[in-house]
Subunit: 339 residues, 2 copies
């Protein structure tokens, strides 16, 4: 499109260069009949149930990292936010803010990932928008994805539905995304193959909704920024109950634990991009755990604690040596631009 | 929240500072029960009809200007994009990317405007997300708004519905937004009170849908980036017909015309943020014009041309002296960050 193969201001004009970008990169990879109509908004069939709606912007640095890139996060993150209300994701929007001079090859690589993730999760990108800002006015690429889902009748999943006695399941190991970005940015090399856990959770959640008795899955939350500690505090506050978790039950990969020790971090506060917390009626927790473990993204799932009467909003960690400590929400920012 | 009253990286952490920002600025002004639940996604009642979905990011510079600010554009722009498919807007999302050091007072001013515009158009903000990037990694504030609307049964408004003989209505004067931003940025002072036309079109469009016979409103388009020229080219291409417009019929404010002459610009390519093109069956065009003019945002509406057999996709302008010229889509970027 231009000799340097980079994004030009003209690509954001709404004119001919914008149309070229749309046809040569976006429609080439993301093609579907709704998106291809290129109208001011997408129009699609409705489905019975309530509507779920979510939005997230992604500003991660670096934009490419082991296990994913800014595009995979954008697709997985918004699918997961919809899924956390028990919704079946219907479609996504894609809003790009590009820096003048951003390489078209890198843009295409991100769009290819977005297309793959959207296809794999069966949630099409149906509408989009691209803005270009002059060099130095953003950092390469920022992405917003918003999404619509349908919450079928009878499904009611929310922080306020959590009940005393609920067991708390975590779908896999903590902190893989946070440590991947952090070590990548610091230039630290870890043994092993640690990668971001960037993944869509809609299949795992659909399994829980389909196979557990109606009403036994109370609350879902994906512990992204702020980590498991912050999500559990939010759940405890919304439920007006106390959370107790068992340090030894919480899955953490050895390389994440090692990196946390080196860097003085607590895995409970690290970001995850393909994990969820699920609060389930105690008599269904074993079945829920088995269902989670039967999915590719939930093989390391564990029951990590329970919801108890006690000080409303408090999260207590029981340690291996029989002690306990209060887990507060995140204070301070351990790492900007984690997602 | 901090001595300098500016955005800190911590405000984007997902932790306690994020919660403070949400409660002290966002919920204070945007409060509604769906947003206040602060879940990963909003869940709301569905309505019969098809679903319309749209997204737009806003990066305008300067963020405050006569007639509006980046927040008014974000609300009006996405409402208008939904409306251009004949949808009744149901709700909006709000995704913010903030630069470290951005003034909290300016943020609150933008949020107050967003709240006012959303309330005035009766389209609530139901879900949101905030990211903070380090100083110099974005420019003050970027906003994404996405929106959901419902297209009622029997409504089918699209570029492909345009038919030979349709008359083309423009809801008001061209280029007010483009010239306002352009002169503001260049430090040029104009006589008069020129301001951005930033406005929501959902009331005007609802009136057309309610009062015109079913099926007589064929196509709607809001000529934002790329202006009326680019929108008409898109309509002509989608319809496979030719557009003919009459130079003398096109409403342009004298101060916009004067600024265009000074700056060597063509008003046909300037951005508008509160105007629409409507293609209407010829026998209903007079009524449509009267309906448009009965609204606050459509007082200067005019019939500017028609859709004809001829070279598919071609737009021809008839001039006052009896000549004609071909109007191509926008080439090049006259002004980055116009919206």
């Amino acid at each position: 499109m231009n000799p340097g193969n980079t994004i030009l201001l003209d690509h954001g004009s709404g004119g001919i260069a914008s149309q070229e970008l749309i046809s040569q990169i976006f429609l080439k990879h993301l093609d579907n009949s709704i998106l291809a109509s290129l109208e001011d908004s997408a129009v699609m069939e409705n489905h019975p149930g309530k509507i779920a709606f979510s939005t997230d912007s992604y500003v991660v640095d670096p934009i490419f990292f082991p296990g994913g890139n800014i595009g995979t996060l954008a697709v997985h993150g918004t699918i997961n936010d919809l899924t956390m209300r028990g919704a079946r994701p219907l479609c996504l929007s894609l809003g790009l803010i590009l820096e003048e001079g951003f390489k078209l090859d890198d843009l295409e690589r991100v769009i290819v990932s977005i297309a793959e993730c959207a296809k794999s999760a069966d949630v099409p990108i149906v509408t989009g928008d691209t803005k270009v800002v002059p060099r130095g006015k953003c950092d390469k690429i920022f992405i917003n994805t918003s999404g619509i889902g349908i919450v079928e009748d009878g499904v009611n999943v929310s922080s306020t539905m959590a009940q005393e006695g609920d067991l708390i399941l975590l779908s896999g190991s903590m902190g893989d995304h946070g440590i991947t970005i952090m070590t990548r940015r610091a230039g630290i090399s870890l043994d092993g193959n640690l990668a971001s856990d960037s993944a869509a959770l809609n299949e795992l959640v659909a399994l829980l909704l389909d196979k557990l008795p109606s009403g036994s899955l109370h609350t879902l939350r994906d512990p992204t920024r702020g980590g498991v500690a912050t999500s559990l505090n939010e759940i405890a506050a919304a439920a007006g109950l106390a959370v107790e978790i068992d340090d030894q039950a919480i899955p953490v990969k050895p390389e994440v634990r090692a990196a946390c020790e080196i860097m003085g971090l607590d895995p409970l506060y690290l970001a995850n991009e393909g994990k969820c917390l699920a609060l389930v009626a105690p008599e269904q927790a074993a079945k829920a755990l088995q269902l989670m473990r039967s999915t590719a993204v939930g093989t390391d799932a564990a029951i990590i604690g329970s919801l108890k009467a006690g000080k409303a909003g408090q999260v207590v960690l029981r340690t291996a040596i029989g002690g306990s400590r209060i887990i507060t929400p995140l204070h301070g920012e351990p790492l900007p631009r984690i997602c």
